[in-house]
Assembly symmetry: D2
Homo-oligomer: 335 residues x 4
């Protein structure tokens, strides 16, 4: 297979799915064969633009023999059905995060993949961000020592919550990134959580969610999620990550990415890492993630992240939700 391009399909071409489709059509070692989405106007337009087939129905796409693998980029609560169907159709799968909306649902996907013998990678894009990956490498026990405490922040503007809040949740949309990163950096799983949320705006969901977590190795962590910021927040978001070890520490603050346009009204920052589009091509972390998926499928090499790690993060999300419901600290259920 090594010299043939990997033939890709994309199921779901909303905001992120369209990025997947564009990148598959741009990479030198992949070919975009078809996209599927129930919204025919959106789907046909994109297919025309990218020169691939459009199918309203995911099942029809999965039935095509000339597709090796699929991106699944459907809404957070609708991952199980297309992922199980793709596995049964023998397609390798790049599944957008979160792996699923509950640990039980994620287990169904894992079971289908294992039974079918296809490959599955959950698209945790921060695993391809040079800042986060270098932070993780800096946290090697021999240089960092043992993790003492960790902090993660992921805050965005309220117009995002107004747009997507009712269809997803602050944990699915923002939270799962840092839960995965925390466990990856600490080299230790989260065992117990306490969380609180607040809702004062009318954006169809909580405005913010704060949590304290305990790790198996004795470290503590704090999580700070919000999509309640006024829209004037430069770059539209503020993420940060810290780990303090018994020897060294590392920190990452992505509020200022170095580039700003100043108008009469104020400064406007732009993404320079996730998926900047320059010279007509999408670059950055997302392209790197998709290139990695294609290369690893073609070569048989392991993925950067085992999907069992993605599943572990979902168990923490379940515990955070339970803690909010019950008002007390809750242990993370692990098999």
């Amino acid at each position: 297979m090594a010299n043939e391009p990997l033939r890709m399909g994309v199921i779901g071409v909303g905001f992120m799915g369209a990025y997947h489709a564009r990148i598959w059509s741009q990479l030198p070692n992949t070919e975009l064969v078809a996209i599927a989405d129930p919204d025919q106007a959106v789907g046909r337009k994109l297919a025309d633009e990218l020169g691939c087939s459009y199918l309203p129905d995911a099942a029809a796409l999965l039935a095509q023999g000339d597709i090796d693998a699929v991106s699944i980029v459907t809404p957070d609560r609708h991952h199980v059905e297309p992922a199980v169907a793709a596995a049964r159709a023998g397609k390798h799968i790049l599944l957008e995060k979160p792996m699923a909306h509950t640990a039980e649902a994620a287990e169904q996907i894992a079971a289908a993949v294992e039974q079918a013998g296809v490959r599955l990678m959950v698209a945790h894009v921060l695993r391809f961000d040079p800042r986060y990956v270098q932070l993780r490498e800096a946290a090697e026990p021999e240089t960092m020592g043992e993790a003492i405490h960790l902090r993660a922040k992921r805050n965005t503007v309220r117009s995002l919550a107004q747009r997507v809040g009712a269809n997803t949740s602050i944990l699915f949309y923002l939270g799962v990134h840092d839960i995965d990163m925390m466990q990856w950096v600490a080299r230790s799983e989260i065992t117990r959580v306490f969380a609180q949320k607040v809702q004062k705006l009318s954006n169809g969901n909580e405005d913010a969610l704060f949590a304290l977590v305990n790790f198996a190795n004795g470290a503590i962590g704090t999580l700070d999620y919000s999509w309640a910021w006024p829209d004037g927040l430069p770059a539209g978001y503020h993420a940060a990550f810290e780990v303090i070890g018994t020897k060294n520490a590392a920190l990452l603050d992505v509020r200022d990415q170095g580039f700003q346009v100043i108008t009469a009204e104020g400064p406007h920052a732009a993404d320079t890492h996730l998926w900047p589009e320059i010279h007509g091509r999408i670059t950055g972390d997302l392209r790197d993630e998709l290139m990695h998926f294609a290369e690893a499928v073609r070569s048989g090499a392991p993925f950067v992240q085992d999907y069992r790690e993605a599943l572990s993060a979902i168990r923490v999300l379940d515990a955070l939700a339970a803690s909010i419901d019950q008002g007390v600290p809750v242990a993370v259920a692990r098999p």
Copy 2:
């Protein structure tokens, strides 16, 4: 009294007490009369330098009729005795934070002050920091709306914990600043807290303490205290504060104060706000605080902070300690 300098004594001339003494000797409207400290070598040397009397014993200082007011800068757990004695001696009091190590102890001080009719201000220096005060002003309900969530961070290097950790606590030394600030900014009291601490280094005390808090007005807050950072953290500390309201938001990050010296080994930042010493005089927030105390005592004007607000913060510290002991969320006890 208005044209006479205010005659000051200082009880306790360790690190902070020496700053108080120096500033009283430099201000145009105050006069440093005497200092008291059990460490005779330290006390005599400073008294010689500043041209004031030295007394080993606080009681002797309080007995002097030519002293109008005193700074009390004794260790955190030893505020009650000198404060009560100063009140009984009819001296106005500037008492270093925290007001006391428990709410019960703080109540004893309050009772003594009220009985004696003297004035008491607790030295919450952030109330005089132009960054924090402007943030508080930006959080006026008419512009900010109602507070939704707040975040405070106060992190320092581990050499500080090694030096002072066993004699104080992370809450007394770092925490009380932000508890006071949070309640002042939110215009609402903290009603319930959950906290976790961690101790992996051997610095005589906890390395870090994280907490989630609930406010009477429904807002939530997160607190992030640590003195476990490696000593190479620029400027030696990292503080941050955020408030997100239903209308606007405000943030403050004091990691980078704009000024750095670069040597072959690395960057070195300096304090440009708290108590920078330039042209041989101490300036900044601390001098402003002491000027305010002197002016308000001379004029009879109210202090920027009523000591009842300082006492309110101590009640939150008590609840945080109880939550750590019990492992569950704890309500703040209020009379």
Copy 3:
């Protein structure tokens, strides 16, 4: 004189003059006696607010026997007449920067002051900014070595140029600050300059002025002045200063002062150093400068800056203007 407040007058109460007047009325060791300004409406209103006399004419103010010293805060090109008159009237003088609009004019002021035996300080406020002063201290030859190169930037928004551009110049308004600072930090005078300006906006004056300068000690420097930025520049200005020595280096960047308000439209930063007003009083560098003037006049101590240093900066301004006119490098004329 030591225990009596210094009795002050202010000549010129525009934007900066009003700040002087307010601070003189707030300091514990000074008393604001009178203000003079040709704009009667503005002058009377301020005098009423501050409880002092108003005089339309500077000469009348200078004739008052109950005034010890004056702030002169008239437009840049009108410093000579009031400064000479004040000296002849026996008043000590705090003169806003630039000392004068030409070296020749500055010499007239110096001669008058020397003849009258009064004291003169030019109000170079950065000499009281903890960031700049600490940078200067970091540049001590024993730690920094000899200066190799220096950089200064002072950029503001175009609405400032639109408001004041025709009455002043980019060198008088912005440039003189850094010329003085460069010579003070380098411990060496500027000997030769080359400058270029550009004017594309219609703000009544040049939009920007860049220069290269040579120091007597062989170092080189670069100056970057602009008031052409769109008004959305956070905090409205961006200043920076660097010195690289044969041993260490130091840098200062004041674009981000740590505090921002975020609205739906964008971030808004505020001054936290120059003259922030908190709790109803003006604090920061400007207050410190005025306190220093009053203390030094009362005690007879030397000022932080000798006015001969301020005059030296004016000679550099003259050379910069000549270089622009002639299109070639120009030597700084020194007596």
Copy 4:
């Protein structure tokens, strides 16, 4: 050619050449065939590691029929001979910046390439940096208006000058990046320059070089190059770029890339854009540049930068050197 990998050779495998070789061996659409370098120990070791041939002599490499294109990464002053030879051998060329050490030398390369009909791209890596490219896009005349003034800074630590200073120059190594960027962003050529350099350290070359430049469209620019910083400068370098237009402005500051490791000694920053290596692969701007070269050669599409633009920058370098020699402003010679 479209489905065959592009077969690459690399001439010169020092620091940057080794990066080229590694990336050619990692990209999905290229194959590293051979490397050539006079240093046999270095060359053989790298060839073994990457599984390609090693040849001590560039001529032998160019004689190989199974090589489509070459990277030329020889020292700055030795670009002409290998580039001309490669063109004559019919190889497409990716030539490291600067195109050549004089405009005359660059013209020789251009003539050879045109005569041979091969393709030439000069490796100006900032043309592939999402920050710089987005800044350039933000400077489109319809949104930015006409450029008024530009500023570029590129400063590094003195250990770099000690290592490479005698073999290159501050203009070849640092300067050419920003000269190209300035002309690309301003959409206007530099017509006249004035420069000054300083040398106080003993690093085999100038410590710093400052310049003022004039553009054909009336804008002015300032350049600030140094490799005299103490080695403790975080991340080892500080680059900045600004353009202020008649409408908007844009700025870029890459001192802080968001990620730092803190040790007991100080903070340590890392490259997150140029060529970070994560998961065993080189990513970032450099990989993107090489991917672009390979794709454009395979598809016949134009390069992002015409080599005539690279040549234009060399003419400015020549003028800067002449201005330093002559001590006066110098016009840029253009055919």
